[in-house]
Subunit: 155 residues, 2 copies
Amino acid sequence: MRTLKFVDNAMTNELPSTSRSLPIALIRAREGVMSPIREMLAETGITEQQWRVLRVLSEHGPMDVGTLADRASLLFPSLTRIANSMRKKELLTQTRDENDRRRQVVTITPAGQKIIDDKVEDAAQIVAGFKNTLGEDKYEQLLDLLAQLDPQHDG
Amino acid sequence: MRTLKFVDNAMTNELPSTSRSLPIALIRAREGVMSPIREMLAETGITEQQWRVLRVLSEHGPMDVGTLADRASLLFPSLTRIANSMRKKELLTQTRDENDRRRQVVTITPAGQKIIDDKVEDAAQIVAGFKNTLGEDKYEQLLDLLAQLDPQHDG
DNA sequence: TGACAATGATTGCTTTGTTAAATAAATTAT
DNA sequence: ATAATTTATTTAACAAAGCAATCATTGTCA
C-alpha cells in the first residue's frame, strides 16, 4: 500500500489521491447530473444518447451522420447503431444525400419530435435545479472551465 | 426544426442549446481528459477502468468489492467482470473474507503494482498538464464545482 | 429455532464506448 | 482516364454501463 503524503505533490511524481482525481470527479459529476435525467427518460423508453440525438436534430434540423455524431458527442459506430434502433422505433428517418451519395442524411420524425415536446419542460426543470444549487454565476463558470478541457473547443 | 431564441431562457420551458448543455459539456471534458490517459495506458494493455481499480488498491490496500466499486466509481456488476478479467491477467487476487463469507476481498498483485509504478510518472505529467492549462486556482475550483454535482458528496 | 428481511456479490440482457478493419463514393494525381 | 488517395459511413469484436433478477450469507425477531 502506497504511503499517503499529505503535502503538496506538485514537485513529486505522485498522482493526486483518487478522491481528488479529475477523471473521477468528472465521472461522478456526470452521474449526478444524468441520474435524474435518466429517470425522466425511463418513461419514454429512450436512452440518454437517443435523447441527445433527438435534441440535436430538433434544434438544427436534418443533417448528415458525421455532423450529428459530432454535435451529439457520440462516436461514429455508436451513432450508426443508435440510428438503426431509432429508425426501427420510427423516431427518425435516414436518406442518402443525392449530391454526395456517401452521406446519410438523418431527419427526426413527428414521433421523435413528440418525445422532445412532451419532455422539454421536465428536462428544463432538472437543468434549472442544478443551475440553482450552484448559482447562475458558478454554473456558467463551470461550463467555461469544462469547455477548456475539450480539445475540440477553441481556447 | 425548433426556432432558436437568443434570449435568456430562465423563464421559458426551453432547454439550453446543446452547445451549452451541462451533460454534453461533462462528456466532452471527460473525453478531453481521458484521451491522453487512454493513449498512455494503451502500452500497458489495461483499460481506464482497470487503471482506476489498480490506483485505488494501491492507495488504500486490500478491500472488499463494494468499497472498491465505490472508490473507483464503478458499478457493482461492472466491477465483478473487470475483477474477473484482471484476475486472469494476474493483476489482482480475490479471497473470501472468513468473518463475513459474503465479502470478497481484493488485493493488488506485484504485477499490478508494477503497472502503477511504471506509469505514475507519465500519469502525473498528464494531470500536471491540465492543472497548467487551467491554472492551479481554477483547477481546484473546477474540482469543487464538480463535487457539488456529486450526490454522494457532502454539500 | 425458523421464517423473513437485509446485505454482498454475481449473472443475464441490452445498449454504448472504443479501436481497427472494411466498404463505397468522391477527389486527386499521373 | 484510371490508379491512388481521401472522405463518409458501416461492421466487427471486445470492454464497460446500467438495470433487473438471482444467489448465498448474515441479521432480525416473533
